[in-house]
Each structure stands twice: as structure tokens, then as C-alpha cells.
């Protein structure tokens, strides 16, 4: 589906953050903002909720911990209860290192993969750029211009209060 966007190109993060906050407070629907680096405070300006990924990470980590504990106890104490060096079959201290490692491994890899899935990032994906310079030195604020109530002229005026370098319309494709 193609979307009509009104985009404002900015040259510095301060104007971008201020403009983003102002347009959101004025009720314009923000499609997205594009920046060459993670701009501090922009997420609040856009009104993004804190990410739920920490909970995903915690779930993966606990899963990894349980998987390791289960594997170790089942393999080492139940399925093949081998006496090694007189250690008890229920060797919790000796099982801790692997439990910790798998917790980190599955927690970390699971979180990264979740990021790629929810953000639809994958090798070979064709990029869509609102402006070829957003990965270099420009910032773009993209407003959703498709709505009936969207007043492009007033939105443009608003953007001009924040030192926008250019304003134009665009179709997301």
C-alpha cells in the first residue's frame, strides 16, 4: 500500500526534536522519523512507548536457563548417571556455569532475532529512504498526509517554525 507523506528535512537534531514534539502536540499523525543515529529524546518527542523487548529478553533468558538446567540434570543425573570424580549426581554447583552461559546465549540471540523480525530487517531487503541523505547527515520528519483532516499548508507552516531545510510530499513505496 502506498502512503502519502509530507516530509520535512532537518539539519540538526535540536530542531528535529522540537518540530517532532510540536507536530505531535498539534495532532498531526507522525508516520516516522528518520535519522543517521539514535537521537536522544526523540522517542519521547514522538510519543513512542518504552519498548517491550526487555520482557522478551527476560523470557528468552529464563527459557535458556531452564533448558540448560533440564538438559544437564536429565543427561548427567537421570539418563546416564555417571559417577565422575566422586561428585554427587545432583551437582548443582558444577551445573551453574552452563546454565548461566545458555541463559546469556539464548537471551541475547533471541532478543536480536526478535528485533529483526518485528522491525522487518533481513539480509537483502530493499531499503526505502525518504531522502538519500538520512543515513549520512540529514533528519527527516515524515507526516502521514493521507487523512481527510490533514491540512498540508498549516503543517508546512508549523515545520517552518523549526528551521526545516525543505518540505515536500512523497509516496512511500
Amino acid at each position: 500500500m502506498k502512503r502519502h507523506l509530507l516530509i520535512g528535512v532537518f539539519e540538526n537534531e535540536e530542531s528535529l526534536v522540537a518540530a517532532t514534539r510540536a507536530t505531535r502536540e498539534a495532532g498531526y499523525p507522525i508516520h516516522d522519523v528518520f535519522a543517521p543515529y539514535a537521537v536522544h529524546g526523540l522517542d519521547q518527542a514522538m510519543g513512542l512507548r518504552p519498548s517491550r523487548l526487555p520482557w522478551i529478553c527476560l523470557s528468552f533468558a529464563i527459557a535458556g536457563l531452564l533448558l540448560a538446567a533440564g538438559t544437564e540434570f536429565w543427561m548427567g543425573s537421570i539418563d546416564w548417571p555417571l559417577n565422575v570424580g566422586g561428585k554427587p549426581l545432583n551437582s548443582l554447583p558444577a551445573y551453574l556455569p552452563v546454565m548461566f552461559e545458555l541463559m546469556v546465549l539464548i537471551g541475547g540471540v533471541g532478543t536480536a532475532l526478535t528485533l529483526f523480525v518485528v522491525s522487518r530487517l533481513y539480509p537483502g531487503k530493499k531499503e526505502w529512504l525518504p531522502d538519500p541523505r538520512v543515513t549520512n547527515g540529514r533528519f527527516v520528519l515524515a507526516l502521514d498526509a493521507a487523512g481527510v483532516a490533514f491540512d498540508a499548508d498549516r503543517a508546512e507552516q508549523l515545520l517552518h517554525r523549526f528551521e526545516v531545510a525543505e518540505v515536500r510530499t512523497l509516496q512511500e513505496g
Binding site: P36, D43, L102, E127, G137
Partner: protein, 470 residues
């Protein structure tokens, strides 16, 4: 707006715009390699070739080509293994721990240090692998359903912990490093002029377009990975140390080993980072990015880690005396006065005495001196592992089983090969991937710059709070 103390200095040596940063870092990859780079690569590949030949010979003939014997069953290979794993720890320290501690200067050095981590861990992995004698059966060290029972691996063995720890460490470091690379690969893709570059960077950059909705999640994941990598880096060298400390050999069985090995790893890793970066910043003209202040700060971290190592040495010697255990006491006397005293005193000189120079600010800011110190620490930390491993084994409880160990030419060639692999991979990294994290450096350009300074350099600042609310 965030306020900075008047004592703070900006991260980069000279003020730069976003475009300057992109150009400075990207042109290093876009121009043809210099003659010096080819010469360095040729040397590294030769060393790698020597090592590969030695490994091939060893695989054909067996472990008997090494100088091991019944008493000293572990020596050169495990020394190298611990040495390389330790080197890797600085990368994770810079990328994860300094990130959690919100140290903005890490942005200039984290990319190359993380690359060094990956390469060093790969070099480390070779040694246990070839010590297996039949490395093609490496998967026997992992628990998989098999037709031998199934017979599972012994999860109570530190060697199995080690295998899983190193695997985890490599994987998480790779994910962390690649995650950081994606925005920079997109930057390279969008300024690529040749079709091949566009295509390759296009595939590798995962369709990244700088969307803030993605950045928002990306930041969360970066923080989570840093929070996971921090205890991970401690755990890895802890587990490496347990390869020794779970035994009952005097000199190996010491409860202080875990934190002491971790401190040693960060110490040696920072030494290697300094060795590499002092050369790279000169050759790649990154003096504005990796400034004298960066070198100063890295020296301070190295000094702190080195002091912990020094205190651990002292604790070990003191407790050996305090224990009144004749075997413990002998192990440490034998280190200092026995046939390997030369290695012990090299270690003490390089790891304890030499770093004391770093207490002085003007010496920390003397690049040549720091380079020499960093190399000496590398040597000292290699010796430390050699001393711990070989001197503890060659004379243990029974004088009848005492013996001496000397590396053969094959073992030395394999170590040379590991250095060859390390430098080959690092040189390739420096040519094909951004050596400095472009997007992260852009994020700290405003750090501690005064507003008037900023406006004169294309990054204008305006009194945002005064803008009328619409």
C-alpha cells in the same frame, strides 16, 4: 538540554559535521589500499602460511610433534588459548561495560576493539581444537543424540563449560558487533558509487533506513545485549580460570583465580587494543577520532586492571606463605627461583613494574612510550599464562615425576600462525568495514561542545525552549 562541566572536552579533536564523519571514515574503505597495507598483509599471510603448514604437519604426525610429556601435558597450546581469549575481553569491556557506564569516548574505539575480540576468540579456538588430535571430531564436545548409548558429555567438566562459554562468547560478540555495523553498512550503501559495493552493502545492511521506530527498538536491544555481555565477559575468563582452579595442583588451585583472570584479561586486552590503535590511527589518519585523550583514558583502565593483577600476584604469594603448606610454598618458590625464573621475572617486570609508568599523565600521553608499554604488557601477560601453566605442572607433588618442558619449532610456528591469522583478519576488517562506528560517533558530536562552537560548524543550535508552542 544536557549540561556539561566546563572541564569536559569534546570527544573528537576538531569539530566535525555529520558529513565530515561519514567521509573521514568511509573514504578509508573507498580508496585503493596503500602499499603499506599490502606489505603488512603479505607479512601476515606468510605467518599464517607458516602456521597452517605446521598445523597440517602436526595433524598428520600427531601431538608428539609438540614438546609435551607426562608431567607437562598442557603447555604452549593452552597458554596461547588463554592469551587470545584474554585479548578479546577488552573489546567487550569497551563495547558493553563502558556503554553501561555511559562513557561517550568509547564510540571511537568500540568497533575496532570488538572486531579484535572476534578475531582473537577465533584464534583462541584453534588451540584446543588442534590439541584434540582429531579436530574433525570436535562435535563430540557438545551434547547431541548419538549411537553410543547415547553417551552425553560430562557437564561437571570445566572443559565442557569452556567449550560452551567460548561458543556463547563468540556468538554474542558477533551479534553485538553486527548489530552495531548495520546502520554504518547502510551509510556505506547509500554513498556507494560502484554497483558491486551497493549490492554487497545492500544485502549486509538489512534494508536499514534510519527509521526512528526501529532505532527505538534497536537502542533497547543494544542496551540489553550490553547488560548480558557484561556478566558474560566475566564468566568467560572465570570459566577459563576454572580449567585450572578446579584441580588440586598447587599454583592452579587458587580461589582468587576467577576475578584475577578477568582483571588480567582486560589488562592484556587493553594492551592489544592500544598496540593496534596507535598504529591504525596514524596510518588511517584517525588522530581526530582516536585522540591523545582516548589513549590516556585507555591507559588508565589498563593501569586499574594491572593494579588488580599485581595485587592478586601479591595475595597469591602471601597466602602461599601463610598457608604453611609445603607444596603451596614450593610452587611459588619454584616460580621465582626455579628453572623458569626467567619467565616469572619477565612477567613481574612487564606486568607489575612497567605499568607503574602509567601513573604519570605526561607519560600516558606519550604515544611512543605507551606503544612500547603496551607491547611489553602483551609479552608479560603471555608469560603469565606460561608461568601459571608450565611451572605448576613441571614440578608438583612427587619429585620422581618432575620434568622440564620446551616448546618445539612446530609449536612456535603455530603461535606465529595465530598471529598471522589475527593480523590478516584485522587488516581485512580495516579495509572492508568501517573502522569506527560512524553512527555512534555522530551521536556524540554535540558532547561538551559549547553552543557557539557548534553553530560555527554546520550543526547549529537554537534556543529550542524559546520556540513558541504551536
Amino acid at each position: 538540554m544536557k549540561q556539561y562541566s566546563t572541564l569536559r572536552k569534546p570527544i573528537l579533536g576538531t569539530p566535525k559535521s555529520f558529513e565530515d564523519v561519514t567521509i573521514d571514515i568511509a573514504t578509508q574503505l573507498e580508496r585503493r589500499p596503500a602499499k603499506l597495507w599490502w606489505a603488512a598483509l603479505a607479512c601476515a599471510v606468510c605467518a599464517l602460511g607458516v602456521g597452517a603448514t605446521a598445523v597440517a604437519y602436526q595433524l598428520k604426525m600427531g601431538i608428539g610433534t609438540w614438546g609435551l610429556n607426562n608431567s607437562v601435558g598442557w603447555a604452549f597450546d593452552i597458554t596461547n588459548f588463554v592469551f587470545w581469549v584474554g585479548i578479546g575481553h577488552a573489546g567487550t569491556f569497551i563495547s558493553a561495560i563502558l556503554f553501561l557506564l555511559r562513557q561517550p569516548w568509547r564510540t571511537s574505539i568500540n568497533r575496532s576493539a570488538e572486531a579484535m575480540t572476534l578475531i582473537a576468540v577465533a584464534c583462541a579456538g584453534i588451540f584446543p581444537l588442534i590439541h584434540m588430535g582429531r579436530p574433525w571430531l570436535f562435535f563430540w564436545a557438545t551434547p547431541y543424540p548419538n549411537s553410543r548409548g547415547p553417551l552425553w558429555v560430562n557437564f561437571r567438566s570445566p572443559l565442557v563449560w569452556d567449550c560452551i562459554a567460548i561458543g556463547t562468547y563468540f556468538t554474542i560478540s558477533l551479534v553485538f558487533w553486527y548489530l552495531g555495523l548495520i546502520p554504518d553498512l547502510a551509510t556505506l550503501r547509500d554513498r556507494a558509487t560502484s554497483k558491486t559495493r551497493r549490492f554487497v552493502y545492500g544485502i549486509l545492511s538489512f534494508g536499514w533506513n534510519g527509521s526512528m521506530r526501529v532505532w527505538h527498538r534497536y537502542d533497547a536491544v543494544y542496551l540489553l545485549l550490553a547488560a548480558l555481555a557484561t556478566p558474560l565477559v566475566l564468566s568467560v575468563h572465570t570459566i577459563v580460570s576454572m580449567d585450572f582452579a578446579t584441580s588440586i595442583i598447587p599454583g592452579w588451585h587458587s580461589t582468587v583465580f576467577p576475578p584475577y583472570f578477568v582483571a588480567g584479561a582486560i589488562f592484556s586486552g587493553f594492551a592489544m587494543v592500544l598496540t593496534l590503535l596507535i598504529v591504525a590511527r596514524k596510518i588511517m589518519s584517525f588522530q581526530d577520532y582516536i585522540t591523545i585523550d582516548h589513549i590516556d583514558k585507555m591507559c588508565r583502565v589498563m593501569l586499574a586492571a594491572g593494579s588488580l593483577v599485581g595485587i592478586s600476584y601479591a595475595i597469591e604469594v602471601f597466602v602461599a606463605w601463610y598457608s604453611v603448606n609445603p607444596y603451596e610454598r614450593f610452587a611459588f618458590l619454584n616460580r621465582a627461583l626455579g628453572p623458569y625464573a626467567w619467565a616469572y621475572w619477565t612477567m613481574i617486570t612487564c606486568n607489575v613494574f612497567v605499568p607503574q609508568l602509567l601513573w604519570f599523565r605526561n607519560l600516558r600521553r606519550n604515544v611512543i612510550l605507551v606503544f612500547v608499554v603496551s607491547i611489553l604488557i602483551n609479552v608479560g601477560m603471555w608469560m603469565e599464562r606460561f608461568v601459571i601453566i608450565v611451572t605448576s605442572l613441571h614440578r608438583d607433588f612427587m619429585p620422581s615425576s618432575w620434568s622440564m618442558y620446551k616448546p618445539t619449532i612446530i609449536e612456535i610456528a603455530i603461535l606465529l600462525g595465530a598471529f598471522g591469522l589475527f593480523f590478516t583478519a584485522f587488516l581485512l576488517f580495516a579495509r572492508f568495514l568501517p573502522f569506527i562506528a560512524i553512527s555512534e560517533v555522530k551521536g556524540v558530536l554535540g558532547y561538551a561542545r559549547r553552543p557557539q562552537e557548534r553553530s560555527s560548524h554546520k550543526v547549529p543550535v537554537h534556543a529550542i525552549s524559546e520556540a513558541p508552542a504551536p
